[in-house]
C-alpha cells in the first residue's frame, strides 16, 4: 500500500552526530595512518568541543513524486547534457528532497577564530563542521529510510544514495526549484542569488531509494575529467559492500 507523501522536520541531537576523525583529518590533508603531533590531536579535541557547543543541527526531508522531481531536476535548464542522475531518478522507487544545516553560529565561530589569529583551530573546526554537516545529512537519509521501512518498503536489495546540485552534472542553479518545492527556510536555510546556501554549512539535494543497481554508473561523463575527487567511486563501492 502506498504511503501518503512524507514531509518531516527531523529533530537531531548533537549526540546523534557520529563524526569520523578520518574524514576530518582527510580534509586537513592528514592521512590517518601517518603519525601526527600531539598539537594536532589537541586541535581536534578542541574543535570537537566547539562543534558540540556551537552547532544547531536541523534537517528537513520531503518525499517528491518522480514527475515533480523531473521538473525540479531540469531546473533552469543548465545541467550537463547527460548526467548519471538523468537515468537514476527515473528508476527510483522513492525520491525525497532534503536540506540540512548545522546552523549559523558555528560559521560565525570559525570566522572569529581566524580574526583572533587562531588559524589552526579555525581550520580544524571548519573541517569538523563540514564532516558534521555530512553526518547530519546521513541522519536525515536514515530517518526517511526508517519511515519507508515501517511499511516494508525497504528490502535487502534496496540502495539509498543522495545527490546534490553542484555535483555530477546537476547545475548549482538546481537549488532554485529545489528550494521552491522543499521550503528549507522552515529550518532556517535560505538561498542567495548565487545559489549559495546560508548558513554556509548546509547541504541540500535528493535522496534516491531503489534497487542498488540503479546507482551504479561509470565516471566517464564529459565533466568527469574535471572532477578532482571522484567520490562517486567510493559511494558506489560502499553500496555494494557485503
Amino acid at each position: 500500500m502506498k504511503m501518503k507523501i512524507i514531509r518531516e522536520i527531523v529533530e537531531i541531537r548533537i549526540s546523534d552526530i557520529k563524526l569520523e576523525k578520518a574524514n576530518v583529518f582527510k580534509n586537513q590533508d592528514i592521512p590517518l595512518n601517518r603519525e601526527h603531533s600531539l598539537k594536532v590531536e589537541t586541535l581536534f579535541t578542541e574543535a570537537m568541543e566547539l562543534f558540540i557547543e556551537f552547532s544547531h543541527p536541523k534537517g528537513l526531508v520531503s518525499e517528491i513524486p518522480i514527475p515533480e522531481f523531473e521538473v525540479v531536476y531540469f531546473g533552469e535548464g543548465l545541467n550537463e547534457k547527460k548526467t548519471p542522475l538523468d537515468e537514476i531518478f527515473k528508476k527510483a522507487d522513492y525520491l525525497a528532497l532534503f536540506a540540512v544545516t548545522i546552523g549559523e553560529k558555528l560559521s560565525q565561530k570559525i570566522g572569529e577564530l581566524f580574526e583572533l589569529d587562531e588559524f589552526a583551530l579555525g581550520s580544524m573546526l571548519d573541517a569538523v563542521a563540514s564532516e558534521g554537516t555530512e553526518k547530519v545529512a546521513d541522519i536525515v537519509e536514515n530517518r526517511f529510510s526508517e519511515l519507508l521501512a515501517k511499511s516494508d518498503e525497504i528490502t535487502s536489495s534496496t540502495g539509498i544514495l543522495r545527490y546534490c546540485p553542484g555535483y555530477c552534472g546537476w547545475h548549482m542553479s538546481g537549488q532554485k526549484k529545489l528550494f521552491e518545492f522543499l521550503h528549507p527556510e522552515d529550518i532556517g536555510v535560505t538561498l542567495l542569488d548565487s545559489y549559495l546556501m546560508k548558513p554556509l554549512k548546509s547541504i541540500s539535494g535528493v535522496i534516491v531509494i531503489g534497487e542498488k543497481e540503479i546507482h551504479n554508473f561509470i565516471d566517464s561523463y564529459a565533466f568527469c575529467s574535471q572532477c578532482k575527487t571522484h567520490f562517486c567511486r567510493d559511494r558506489i563501492s560502499e553500496l555494494f559492500r557485503e
Binding site: Q28, H36, K39, L43, S173, S194, L196
Partner: protein, 212 residues
C-alpha cells in the same frame, strides 16, 4: 646567530609565545628588523613550506607556524613602518562576487603574510570593480581571487577583462584558486597563475613577483 635560530626553531614548533620572547630579545640585542624577519621568521616558514610539500607535516602544523610567525611580525611591524622598510610585494585578495566561502582565501592570505608580502584582504562577495579599484589605489603587484561555486567563477574573467580594458595586464598579475577552479579554466580566462592549494599559491605568487 643563536637568537635567530631559536626564533626559526620555535616558529617551526608552532610556539608563538617563545617566538614572541625571542623576537623581543633579538630587538633588544639590536639585530635589525629585516634580519630578524628574513633570517628568523621567513627562514622558519620556508622550512615549514618545504616540510609540508614533502608530506612530513600537515596543514595544522603549517597554520600553527603561521600563528607563531604573526606573533613575531606584530613586534616588528611598527619598526618597519618607522624605518620605511617595504615588504617584498603587495597582494590584494578576495572571494569573488556572490560567494561567501573564505577559508581557502584566508589560508592564502595567512601564508602570503608569512612569506613577507603585504596583503589587502577584501573579504568575500567582492565585485570585479572593487578588485580593480583597490588594486590600482594600493599599487599592488597581484590580484588573488577565490571561488568555491561554479556560478561565481565567471566573475574572475570579468576582473581580468577589466584589467585589459584599463591597460593593466602584465602590470598587475592575477592568480585564481578554489575547489571548482582548474588550471584549464585559468588558461581559458587569461589568469597568470592557478594555485591548487595555499602553499602552491604562495610559490606561484613568488614566481609572479620575481621573488623565486
Amino acid at each position: 646567530m643563536d637568537i635567530l635560530n631559536k626564533i626559526s626553531e620555535h616558529l617551526q614548533l608552532g610556539d608563538d609565545e617563545k617566538v614572541r620572547i625571542f623576537t623581543k630579545e633579538a630587538i633588544k640585542a639590536k639585530i635589525s628588523p629585516k634580519e630578524i624577519l628574513n633570517d628568523g621568521l621567513i627562514f622558519g616558514m620556508d622550512i615549514i613550506g618545504k616540510k609540508y610539500k614533502a608530506h612530513e607535516i600537515f596543514l595544522p602544523d603549517v597554520l600553527l607556524a603561521a600563528k607563531a610567525m604573526y606573533a613575531g611580525m606584530d613586534l616588528l611591524r611598527p619598526m618597519f613602518i618607522k624605518e620605511g622598510i617595504p615588504t617584498i610585494g603587495k597582494v590584494v585578495i578576495g572571494t569573488v562576487q556572490g560567494d561567501l566561502h573564505d577559508i581557502g582565501k584566508n589560508l592564502v592570505g595567512i601564508m602570503l603574510k608569512g612569506a613577507g608580502f603585504e596583503v589587502i584582504d577584501l573579504g568575500n562577495d567582492v565585485s570585479p570593480s572593487e578588485f580593480i579599484e583597490i588594486a590600482k589605489k594600493e599599487d599592488v603587484s597581484v590580484i588573488g581571487m577565490s571561488a568555491l561555486l561554479t556560478t561565481t567563477m565567471p566573475f574572475m574573467k570579468i576582473v581580468i577583462d577589466l584589467l585589459k580594458e584599463e591597460g593593466l595586464i602584465g602590470q598587475i598579475k592575477t592568480i585564481i584558486g578554489g575547489a571548482p577552479v582548474t588550471e584549464e579554466f585559468a588558461r581559458e580566462i587569461g589568469a597568470d597563475a592557478f594555485g591548487y592549494d595555499s602553499i602552491n599559491a604562495i610559490e606561484k605568487v613568488k614566481g609572479l613577483t620575481g621573488m623565486t
